[in-house]
């Protein structure tokens, strides 16, 4: 087994780190405090070619393998998990879905501007009444002449307010059950699309989340992505890659928590010596480092499988499950290590702990991941 990264991957990791220190770290606390989408940062990310890393160069991306994109997400998340998350889902799910299932024309019109970072993507599946239970979706699309007309409300849409291109899931034939949902590419300018309520969140506050309302929203029938009825299998394919992206986000959060905890415990003196000398603290850090390493290898392995074009649904679910639960567990410990200071605004660990919680929920809750894993293992 070769556990080494390529020289290119090592250089890319260093370059992202440098980018983060210069451009992300200085604004991470502010954009969280103000729930602000940093358009100026995303312009720099776009200019540097960081928005479409796993997309082929002919469609405006960097043409890297998926593992390389995971490294970038990890390093971005280490500085700001909102930024890492946005880059991850934009490239890893929205761009990837058009790459995998789109026609050449759809790729030219929609994928290239997204891979270049000129337009952000958003994934519209979840609804007020349909979370883990995707079959409870009610949004429907009806063919009317040369257009599909979409009606329904999507919720918890990340990048909802800021996206230019929406990937929307709607029933075209409810009677066909799991084979009755279809996927549509809906541009922001489509008549009948409205951004609804913005959500104020506990964490990941710089990532914009909202409802998207479709009222007689018309799109040309050429905007059907893939075949009619193929929506759910496409979504599941999208989730597999997306889950590895969330796992990468979690290992970034974990690394940041470990960095902060190591630094603080060496500096903080109580009873005449640094608290790092206390076994209780040292053991918390040992557990943090061990779980980080385990989460890392689960994540990198899942990414490697995808690059080898081998099945990776189980590994993706395992990586997401383990890394997210580890991130939550250890960011709580990181606050504990920091004591009162860790509880105050201004401490990085305070933000890390708030950011970690959502990773156990979105892109499939931990419960849903356990359903996926047990479903495969118990076959």
């Amino acid at each position: 087994m070769d556990f080494k990264f390529t020289e290119e991957q090592e250089l890319i990791r260093k370059n992202v780190r440098e980018f983060c220190v210069k451009n992300v770290e200085p604004i991470a606390a502010e954009i969280d405090e103000n729930s602000r989408h940093p358009a100026e940062l995303f312009e720099k990310l776009s200019a540097g070619g960081w928005m479409g890393i796993p997309i082929p160069q002919e469609y405006g991306g960097a043409g890297a393998d998926f593992l390389t994109s995971i490294i970038v997400v990890e390093e971005l998340s280490r500085s700001c998990s909102s930024t890492g998350f946005t880059v991850s889902t934009h490239a890893g799910i929205m761009c990837m879905m058009i790459l995998l299932f789109g026609t050449e024309e759809q790729k030219k019109i929609y994928l290239t501007p997204m891979a270049e970072g000129k337009r952000l993507g958003a994934f519209c599946l979840t609804e007020p009444g349909a979370g883990t239970d995707v079959m409870a979706v009610t949004t429907a699309a009806v063919l009317d002449g040369n257009d599909y007309v979409i009606n329904g409300t999507k919720t918890f849409t990340s990048n909802g307010p800021t996206a230019g291109t929406y990937i929307v899931f709607a029933w075209t034939d409810k009677s066909a059950g799991r084979k009755g949902m279809s996927t549509f590419i809906v541009p922001r300018e489509a008549p009948g699309l409205r951004v609804g309520e913005h959500f104020k969140k506990m964490g990941l506050r710089s990532s914009q989340t909202s409802e998207i309302i479709f009222k007689d929203c018309r799109v040309p029938k050429n905007n059907l992505l893939g075949k009619e009825g193929a929506g759910l299998p496409m979504a599941m394919t999208g989730f597999d890659g997306g889950r590895v992206g969330i796992a990468a986000q979690c290992i970034g959060i974990l690394q940041a928590a470990l960095d902060e905890s190591v630094r603080y415990s060496k500096e903080r003196v109580q009873f005449g010596s640094p608290i790092a000398r206390n076994q209780a603290i040292a053991w918390m850090i040992a557990d943090m480092a061990t779980d980080l390493s385990a989460a890392r290898f689960l994540t990198y392995h899942a990414a490697w499988l995808k690059d080898q074009k081998l099945p990776f649904s189980k590994e993706a679910a395992m990586a997401k499950l383990y890394a997210s639960e580890a991130a939550m567990r250890h960011t709580i410990k990181a606050v504990q290590i920091h004591g009162g200071y860790g509880y105050c605004k201004g401490a990085k660990v305070e933000r890390l702990m708030r950011d970690a919680k959502i990773t156990e929920i979105y892109e499939g809750t931990s419960e849903a991941q356990r359903m996926v894993i047990s479903g495969i293992v118990l076959r």
């Binding site: 020289e7 370059n15 980018f19 070619g49 960097a62 890297a64």
Partner: protein
């Protein structure tokens, strides 16, 4: 076609050097990087390439493991690289490095307009390779350059010296050693890094070179700097200030 050569060194990244409890330096977990001022040199070469349409060549002397450094240099926009490597090149002196560079530039590259070096390397900062290289090639050398431009067959450079700024012109070909004020190096994108390995790299071994001279210096030791603190505390009232001044006098800090 005119070309610009940028010299760089693959050095230990000092951020990874640790100090052992005994005070010795621990290099066991070090990573490497292109020296800071060398990055400025490469960046300047690439900027000139974009404005003048010239070819840029990155050149380095080092250990065979420094392939990552060569890719790094190419990812920053240079068109090709010359990589002179040998397992005995880990601790070359400036005189030896300059000799090797001069030999390769004279015999393999031949046609060039400008050579850009960093003012000094990030590890030893001897500031000698640039001037020595220029001397061996018989071309003008301008050091401490914070800005320069190319005219017809000459370059005009601003040198930052203690008394102010000196403006120097020199006929081409010429060599400059640059300060970090000259530019802010761009961060290579993912695409740039991936394409780097596909650019031409000319590899040269020690056997292909004439005998390199013996080192002129012997490094006795490299240790961590120590800061001795006497841990005396002084208050801010008049008697305490008197005591403070007396302490400085005793140490010879003030007359």
């Amino acid at each position: 076609m005119p070309s610009i050569i940028a010299c760089f060194k693959w050095v230990v990244d000092e951020a990874y050097i640790r100090r052992s409890p005994s005070g010795d330096l621990d290099f066991s977990a070090v990573d490497y990087k292109i020296g800071e001022y060398d990055r400025n040199a490469i960046e300047e070469a690439v900027r000139l390439k974009e404005t003048l349409g010239v070819k840029t060549i990155a050149i380095t002397v080092g250990l065979p493991e420094a392939t990552k450094g060569v890719k790094d240099a190419l990812s920053r926009g240079t068109d090709e690289a010359y990589f002179i490597a040998d397992s005995s090149f880990g601790n070359l002196e400036s005189s030896q490095t300059a000799f090797i560079l001069a030999e390769v530039i004279r015999t393999r590259i031949e046609q060039y307009d400008i050579i850009i070096c960093g003012e000094g390397s990030s590890d030893l900062y001897a500031q000698q390779v640039g001037p020595r290289l220029a001397e061996k090639l018989g071309i003008p050398c301008i050091s401490f350059v914070q800005k320069f431009s190319i005219g017809k067959d000459q370059l005009v450079a601003e040198r930052r010296v203690e008394e102010g700024i000196e403006v120097i012109t020199a006929p081409l070909p010429a060599l400059v050693t640059v300060l970090p004020d000259i530019n802010v190096p761009s961060i290579p994108g993912v695409k740039d890094t991936l394409m780097a390995g596909k650019k031409p790299i000319v590899k040269i071994t020690k056997d292909e070179l004439p005998p390199i001279g013996q080192p002129l210096l012997r490094t006795v030791s490299i240790t961590a700097s120590r800061m001795e603190r006497s841990c005396e505390r002084f208050g801010t009232d008049a008697p305490e200030i008197t005591r403070f001044v007396g302490s400085l006098r005793k140490k010879g800090v003030v007359g």
